[in-house]
Symmetry: C2
Subunit: 140 residues, 2 copies
């Protein structure tokens, strides 16, 4: 069901500083910048690799306000890995299968993610403490 | 420099339970089990994807004792993402380049990682709270 590690989502206080860090130290390249008002984040996708099943990224996330999911994460735990996104062929189908196995879904239906993807989050309490995102990439 | 997301390292209390979860819910397959006494962990690598630059895995980690890095992590933060491993062509060369940019190295020289890899950790305080591992896969 999981086709690839789509991205590692990293929460940070200052997006521009962190982009500069990942570019200069690790040689990654920003391929997309977006503001997602619904999720309350300003974000950047940095390309790591291509694969048979799609590309992999580091996703850097800066909260738009303290009172957002990422803002509260930063206040509680500080900067670090916020979630892991895995590629799936069909996010609606994957939610159905995973939900049927008793895993609580944060999103019962897909919503908009980075770069036109359809995404949904699974409850970290049912995935061993890992906030897990399913990503169906846009067919562009 | 970073060739791929090699693995997501996930700390857990019960390795066998977590393997069963990732297999049954996400359809992943265990390709390696090891005990690493030096790192104080019992671990399993579950294959996610292949790519031009090598494969990607979920690495599940159970501490051998509470007084280990992963044991202390669990006591402090609970189960969840412990570190991110990125593939590099030459871990010794990568350490030199990254250290020269002012990032503190937990390992000045490579040590043994999963499946015969040479690995080294970077200090999370200098990588935005992300415990970051460099992985040079074994040429088998």
């Amino acid at each position: 069901m999981l086709l690839r590690i789509d991205h590692v989502g990293v929460a940070c206080h200052n997006l521009e500083e962190k982009i500069e860090f990942y570019e200069s130290v690790f040689g990654l390249t920003v391929v997309s910048r977006e503001v997602n008002e619904e999720q309350g984040v300003r974000e950047a996708m940095l390309h790591v690799a291509d694969g048979d099943q799609g590309a992999s990224y580091v996703q850097l996330l800066e909260p738009l306000h303290p009172d957002t999911a990422v803002g509260r994460f930063l206040a509680k735990r500080g900067e670090g890995v916020h979630h892991i996104g895995y590629g799936v062929a069909d996010v609606t189908e994957a939610l159905k299968e995973i939900g049927a196995k008793g895993v609580r879904l944060i999103d019962e239906r897909p919503r908009h993610g980075s770069m036109g993807a359809s995404i949904a989050f699974l409850h970290p309490k049912d995935v061993g403490g890992v906030l897990t995102e399913l990503v169906e990439t846009s067919r562009r």
